[in-house]
């Protein structure tokens, strides 16, 4: 009896792959955000969980609704919708009505990702598009901040969270300004220790600088993150503040205050580094980071708003294709002399 040959496949080399896949990289970012998410629950209680849940639900719903039927399951499984929702949620004020958060998540995916052609094709960071949408639509709710630790403990939900759609939300009794707002409008500095651990007013995720850095280190170790971008953003901000401090240390923010206040760490580590919307070339990453850092400081110090991370990143997102185009690396063997 003649033994039959196996039916041979003709897949082309390389047959080997390193183990990383895109959904795994997305999951890594979510894992990296878990400590900071935990901190937001610690400081803002159940409200934080509800808000994050609402954002994620909005994002995932948009993802599901706009996917074609064949790839519907896939677009949910690659976890990018969840990541966008989570990132958006972490930039929101804790007292925001839930329906707004839901709408923001939905808009982030729909306007920030789907209309561009889906994952990998968008020009702007979807989470920040969602936030920009909310800030333009609900400016008051988006700039009303509550103090940490709700009065009634973990299960006490800020009443404004439960406001119904299109009703004027009740402003909570205990409101608190963010450190950046305090500094800009009342020239009042917040102690650095409070800034680092996050015992301050502000968005859900921008409160604990140290935990955000911890997640960033995890991403760097997993090679999911272009270290050049956070390093250049933070470096630029520190340098910018230090130079301003030479002129008038009272009027301008100190370098470390600039780094740990507001959404800078969240933006620099998790949003500016979104690979889809940041330059892919190494030199481009430096330019992108320095540009973002300069814009952040310009808006914070000389602009009308206390915080500028979102607009800085979105503006640099728009410049990304151009930066990429003009920063292609030197190809091996190009521009070298014939003789050694």
């Amino acid at each position: 009896m003649k033994k039959r040959d196996p039916d041979l496949l003709l897949f082309h080399a390389p047959l080997l792959r390193q183990g990383m896949t895109t959904p795994k990289a997305m999951r890594d970012v979510i894992i990296a955000l878990l400590p900071a998410t935990g901190a937001s629950l610690w400081y803002f209680g159940l409200s934080a969980a509800l808000l994050l849940g609402a954002c994620i639900a909005g994002a995932v719903l948009a993802e599901w609704l706009f996917a074609d039927r064949a790839s519907r399951g896939e677009s949910l499984r690659d976890a990018t919708g969840i990541l966008t929702g989570l990132l958006l949620g972490l930039t929101l004020p804790p007292g925001l009505p839930l329906w707004m958060a839901f709408l923001g998540g939905f808009a982030g995916i729909a306007l920030g990702k789907v209309i561009w052609g889906g994952l990998g094709h968008n020009l702007f960071n979807p989470a920040l598009v969602g936030r920009a949408f909310l800030l333009a639509t609900f400016p008051i709710a988006m700039t009303t901040w509550v103090s940490v630790y709700p009065e009634g403990g973990f299960f006490d939900v800020y009443s404004s969270n439960l406001a119904l759609p299109f009703m004027q939300p009740q402003v909570d009794g205990v409101s608190a300004a963010t450190p950046l707002g305090l500094f800009k409008f009342q020239q009042e500095a917040t102690p650095l220790g409070d800034l680092m651990v996050g015992r301050i007013g502000g968005s859900l995720g921008e409160t604990s600088g140290l935990l955000l850095i911890l997640g960033g280190i995890y991403l760097w170790l997993r090679r999911d993150l272009d270290w050049r971008i956070p390093v250049s953003i933070l470096g630029t901000v520190v340098l910018f503040s230090a130079v301003l401090g030479l002129f008038d240390a009272e009027r301008f923010p100190a370098p470390l205050f600039s780094v740990f206040s507001g959404g800078l760490l969240l933006g620099a580590i998790y949003m500016a580094t979104d690979p889809v919307t940041s330059p892919v070339t190494p030199r481009g990453a430096w330019i992108f980071g320095i540009g973002t850092g300069v814009l952040v400081m310009l808006i914070r110090v000389f602009g009308g708003l206390p915080e500028g991370v979102m607009y800085a990143i979105l503006l640099m997102n728009a410049a990304t294709p151009l930066i990429d185009r003009y920063t292609q690396p030197r190809v091996f063997g190009h521009g070298v002399e014939k003789k050694p």
Binding site: H12, R17, T22, P275, V280, V331
Partner: protein
């Protein structure tokens, strides 16, 4: 920075696949018994196919010329066995296409020896005669590309070769042919190196070996004689360390200008197998009629390093290794990063075939492709500093002309980008498609 780079002894970028060499790296080279049927394709090197000089019914000796070079970039072919030519015609080749070949039936009772004095005395040959002798011995680059060696040795006037670089990197996973040759035949390697060095008038011989072959480094060091200017350079284990321009960068710190050849930086690079083949011809009279092949991979029953007469079918080679395990899905000729899949077990082993690798489910599982998220891993992998992400996107959009602005023709198709891509995008295939299209478009005007 430059000093730091020299310390590391490597080019920049590249990837680190698991090397999977433990299956065969300690197995001595064995000889495969001669089979009955041999098929020698006329086009088993890069360039013009050879021209057959025998016809069906002719008796041939082992090592006898059966096809002469079809042009300058072409080499001779010799019969791998004593036997009778059964047919000169079209046979299915490794790439699945029919191509001209010479089929030989082996004489089962022959002793299969070659005339040890067949080669001319290399010392008395002029450089031109030496180069012609290399061509008539059918010697090609044995690392996988099968580029005729005499073409590399033909250096135009005004260019001097100062360094003879011997490529013992063997950076492809699984393959251990050069490794075993270095361990088992260091004398032949050094003999061949000395022949080439003297003929080229080079000042020194440098043998580049990846650090994962300490036994090869140690064995060759032991055989070095003080009057032969040879030094061994230990290289970082990294793919594609064995790409000749990368190895020149690693060893000398020099970049070969784009579109130029190693000779433009005064270097001549030859693979370990090629250098041994030079020694075997000029000192032992054997033209290129057999080569060392690594048979490995998860689907092989008994992995081995084998001396295989050219023209032996993959079926005979695999059969000698105990056959295929159940679950075999794919067979690659060459290495897993740049080799070619074969469609049938009846294709012959050729001059450029460094490995027969048998893969199973795990390596051939269909990988889901995700959209490119521009993570930049391919840019960090590409040893040529191209932008594979951009190239793949343009190729998908069939914007092939724009790809020229992104230096698509500098790509050597090493596959690093595809290896590194977390979205499983077949980047190197997309680039190859574009290059083919651009090349085919060019031809009518030329």
């Amino acid at each position: 920075m430059k000093a730091f780079r020299l310390l590391r002894r490597s080019f920049e970028h590249g990837v680190h696949p698991a090397h999977h060499k433990d299956q065969t790296e300690n197995l001595p080279i064995q000889r495969v018994p001669f089979g009955r049927h041999f098929i020698m394709p006329l086009g088993q090197h890069i360039g013009v196919p050879s021209r057959a000089v025998v016809a069906a019914g002719d008796a041939v000796e082992r090592g006898q010329l059966i096809a002469e070079p079809g042009g300058f970039v072409s080499t001779a072919l010799h019969s791998p066995v004593k036997g009778v030519v059964s047919k000169v015609g079209d046979f299915r080749g490794v790439d699945g296409r029919y191509a001209p070949a010479i089929a030989i039936e082996a004489d089962p009772f022959a002793t299969q020896e070659v005339d040890p004095d067949a080669a001319p005395d290399w010392r008395s040959l002029s450089l031109e005669a030496f180069i012609e002798a290399v061509q008539m011995a059918g010697i090609v680059g044995m690392g996988g590309a099968a580029f005729p060696s005499h073409v590399k040795l033909s250096v135009p006037d005004g260019i001097r070769i100062r360094h003879l670089l011997i490529n013992g990197a063997e950076c492809e996973p699984y393959l251990t042919t050069d490794h075993r040759l270095m361990v088992e035949r260091p004398e032949a390697l050094l003999e061949g190196a000395e022949i080439l060095r003297q003929k080229l008038g080079a000042e020194e011989t440098v043998i580049g070996i990846e650090a994962n072959k300490p036994d090869a480094i140690e064995t060759i060091s032991r055989h070095l004689s003080p009057d032969q200017p040879v030094r061994i350079v230990k290289l970082k284990v990294k793919y594609p360390q064995g790409a000749e321009k990368m190895m020149i960068k690693s060893v000398f710190g020099t970049e070969v200008p784009a579109g130029r050849l190693p000779r433009d930086v005064e270097v001549n690079v030859n693979n370990v197998g090629t250098v041994v083949a030079i020694a075997d011809y000029f000192l032992r009279g054997m033209p290129l009629i057999e080569r060392v092949v690594t048979v490995a991979g998860p689907g092989v029953t008994y992995p081995a390093n084998l001396i295989v007469p050219l023209g032996t079918s993959v079926r005979d080679v695999v059969g000698f290794c105990g056959g295929l395990k159940p679950g075999t899905r794919e067979i690659i000729m060459g290495g897993p990063m740049m080799g070619r899949p074969i469609a049938s077990l009846d294709v012959p082993v050729l001059k450029g075939c460094s490995g027969v690798l048998v893969f199973t489910e795990e390596q051939t599982a269909r990988r889901k492709e995700y959209p490119c998220i521009r993570c930049g891993r391919c840019l960090e992998a590409c040893p040529y500093f191209l932008n594979p992400s951009r190239l793949a996107r343009l190729s998908k959009a069939r914007m092939f002309d724009e790809m020229k602005d992104y230096n698509v023709f500098d790509c050597v198709e090493c596959g690093c980008c595809t290896f590194a891509c977390p979205s499983n995008i077949p980047i190197v295939q997309l680039i190859r498609t574009a290059k083919d299209d651009l090349n085919n478009r060019k031809e009518p005007d030329a």
